[in-house]
């Protein structure tokens, strides 16, 4: 890696009297999970290369409360939400981008009722915007002709109706987008949502991520693309379970683009 990442914090920006164009909400997975941190960095590399004025909250960021709410702990969720909203409002944040569909859904849909109204976009939507405005360019090169299947994260797709932005980006890479038998509105969950990520699954005859991985493998992909750090983990585990990790990569859309741009 040639250059160190430039990751300004809101506190630094504020002290310098500057306001970023957008706040990058990193999320817990993006901050702490080793696999997800790579997604975070890939996204930052794209932002850096395009000279996008952004900032992160850094140590002032805290869990949005999504897993607590979905686990049934409304109190903990609202404590998290109200504290986060105080920080966001203090910095007069207008626009937020995040690579986590759970953070995206929670901040976009559940924060406004608690006093936090922002324009919230998923990183695939944001990248799409940048591309449309000509602020980033993409060349297929690396992925030309590769078969890529996209796994719809529930909280991006069904929950918020975002299906096209990630797919358009994949197509911009000159890759061959192949769809699983369950996609878009009918996309099958990876098994992590609703706080399942943090517990053992109930007794059954299969794990959800294995079922979904099998659907993905049916498309004989070179790459399984994801747009959510939790889906990424679940699909990576699924591919390992099928002993296909040497042939099939599980990659976030941001990683695809960063790789294509040789960042």
């Amino acid at each position: 890696m040639a250059d160190a990442l430039k990751v300004p914090t809101m506190a630094e920006m504020f002290a310098a009297g500057k306001k970023p164009e957008v706040l990058f909400w990193v999320g817990c997975a993006g901050s702490f999970d080793d696999r997800a941190k790579k997604i975070t960095k890939a996204f930052v590399k794209i932002l850096n290369k395009a000279n996008i004025s952004f900032a992160v909250l850094g140590t002032e960021e805290s869990c949005t409360g999504d897993p607590a709410k979905r686990a049934g702990n409304e109190f903990l969720f609202q404590m998290q939400a109200v504290s986060n909203i105080e920080v966001l409002n203090a910095y007069e944040i207008k626009k937020i981008v995040t690579a986590c569909p759970h953070c995206f859904n929670t901040i976009k849909n559940e924060y406004p009722g608690l006093g936090g109204a922002y324009e919230v976009v998923h990183h695939t939507q944001f990248l799409k915007e940048l591309l449309n405005e000509g602020r980033i360019s993409m060349e297929g090169g690396t992925f030309k002709g590769k078969r890529i299947t996209f796994h719809d994260p529930c909280y991006l797709g069904r929950a918020n109706g975002v299906y096209e932005a990630p797919r358009e980006l994949i197509q911009k890479l000159d890759a061959e987008l192949v769809e699983m038998k369950n996609c878009k509105q009918k996309g099958l969950c990876c098994g992590a949502g609703g706080a399942q990520m943090f517990k053992e699954p109930e007794k059954g005859n299969k794990d959800v991520n294995i079922e979904r991985t099998e659907q993905a493998l049916e498309t004989t992909p070179d790459i399984i693309a994801a747009g959510c750090p939790f889906c990424n983990t679940m699909m990576t585990d699924g591919v390992k379970n099928k002993e296909k990790e040497s042939e099939i990569a599980v990659m976030d859309i941001a990683e695809l683009i960063a790789t294509a741009e040789d960042l």
Binding site: V7, S31, A71, N73, C154, A159, Q185, E202
Partner: protein, 441 residues
């Protein structure tokens, strides 16, 4: 004595409709046991949803075969019911085919009823084959054993018989018209039953009249029976699909409601000016129960959902937990809610409208914790429902009860929540390390 049939008819009609109206009252009372919920917003969108989803069947056709068959039966029943209006008028006033004066329009109407009746019979037979010969897996989940399975078939039998009676009535009528029988005026066009009438060639005039009258009476009595059957059946959806799609969830599916009672408490806790030792003011209400352990804790739209469910199983079919062998079935969540609500209704009936503890509740006695914790909140069930039922909201309300009232979350989740509380992440990492990734290569 010549008015005896008229009197008999009016009596049957009054009893049939009266009993149905009485049950509708019970239905309304049971649904309103649910909590208040604000669904008076966005009326234009709500009307639009009802028009598209219920009237326009837009979500039925997601599965093209079942969708097409369903549209046939649905249209058949709505349109053929114009005939019921004529039967009722004839029955009350002793007339025969009172709308015959419409002439060619009448011919057209009767002809289309007949063709629809045949299509309905075909669709009903295919539905029966799917349930009993092909045995589609979604009709054979554990919750479908016993009454639900019988109910599904009974509806098909009743519809089959009603259509057959309608065609028999027309066929006999047609034969009588050909014989210039008294009282049987020449009216209507019978593209289907004219062929059935050939079977009746050997019947004498009195026997034909007997056949026609029998089919006529059985048809209308059958329809009144079917009307009353609805309340005891999954078939209630033919009425409730309309209000249910009207009151269905608006806005993004991922948006779960924020509990207002909690918001007040949280704001107070985080307000630096609040006096923590202040005595509660006079008008402070008792703290409400969080989440749901029984049907009365759900809101009335969720209870309406339960009565609307027609147990088609599209939700369960799409559920990732169910697909991988877990106990959770969103359809069972709805069926359990209705069964428990009916049980509560019976307790009310037995105690002059007052609820007395019956030692049971929705949680554990109907819906187990294992089912609730298997949900990934992926919204596949909500998306799949053709009549805007939201099983996920019930699951979430019941989880809320388990966690907030009973602290009964699985231990892994307690760890996760403990981490969020202590260090702002679901894992045990220090919040001060949140930006470390930016310095790692």
């Amino acid at each position: 004595m010549q008015y005896l049939p008229n009197i008999l008819f009016v009596a049957i009609l009054v009893i049939g409709i009266g009993f149905f109206v009485k049950n509708l009252g019970k239905l309304r009372r049971n649904i309103l046991l649910g909590k208040e919920v604000d669904v008076n917003n966005n009326k234009p969108t709500r009307w639009r949803n009802m028009a598209l989803i219920a009237l326009g069947q837009s979500k039925m056709v997601v599965r093209p075969i079942a969708g097409l068959l369903h549209i046939i039966v649905y249209l058949g029943f709505i349109i053929i019911n114009i005939e019921v209006l004529e039967i009722i008028i004839d029955g009350i006033f002793g007339t025969h085919r009172i709308f015959a004066g419409l002439g060619p329009v009448y011919d057209f109407l009767i002809a289309s009823f007949e063709i629809l009746a045949v299509l309905v019979i075909v669709a009903v037979v295919v539905f029966w084959v799917r349930r009993n010969i092909i045995r589609l897996s979604r009709f054979f989940k554990p919750e479908m054993k016993g009454w639900p399975k019988k109910d599904g078939n009974l509806i098909l039998y009743i519809e089959f018989v009603l259509m057959l009676l309608f065609l028999t009535m027309n066929a006999a009528d047609y034969s009588l018209q050909q014989m210039n029988a008294e009282h049987y005026l020449q009216a209507g066009s019978f593209p289907v039953s004219q062929y059935i009438s050939e079977l009746f060639g050997s019947l004498s005039l009195p026997n034909l009249i007997l056949l026609e009258r029998t089919a006529w009476w059985l048809h209308i009595v059958g329809i009144l029976f079917f009307l009353n059957y609805l309340y005891y059946s999954k078939h209630l959806h033919i009425l409730l699909a309309f209000p249910n799609t009207y009151y269905g969830k608006l806005g993004p599916k991922g948006q779960f409601k924020n509990l207002e009672a909690v918001t007040k408490e949280v704001k107070l806790m985080l307000d630096p000016d609040a006096d923590p030792f202040a005595a509660p003011s006079e008008d402070t209400e008792d703290p409400s129960k969080f989440g749901a352990s029984d049907v009365m804790d759900l809101n009335w739209v969720q209870l309406l959902n339960a009565y609307t469910c027609t147990e088609c199983g599209r939700c369960t079919n799409e559920c990732p937990a169910n697909q991988t062998g877990k106990k959770l079935s969103p359809r069972k969540i709805m069926m359990d809610t209705r069964d428990r609500l009916e049980e509560v209704g019976k307790v009310l009936d037995a105690n002059k409208g007052e609820f007395k503890e019956d030692g049971k509740q929705l949680l554990d006695d109907y819906i187990t914790r294992e089912e609730l914790w298997a949900c990934t909140s992926c919204n596949a069930c909500v998306e799949a429902c053709p009549v805007s039922i939201d099983p996920l909201s019930i699951i979430m309300d019941m989880r809320q009860y388990l966690v907030m009232e009973q602290s009964a979350a699985p231990s892994d989740l307690n760890n996760m929540m403990g981490n969020i509380e202590n260090n702002g992440a679901p894992w045990p990492f220090n919040q001060m390390d949140r930006l470390n990734w930016s310095k790692e290569s």
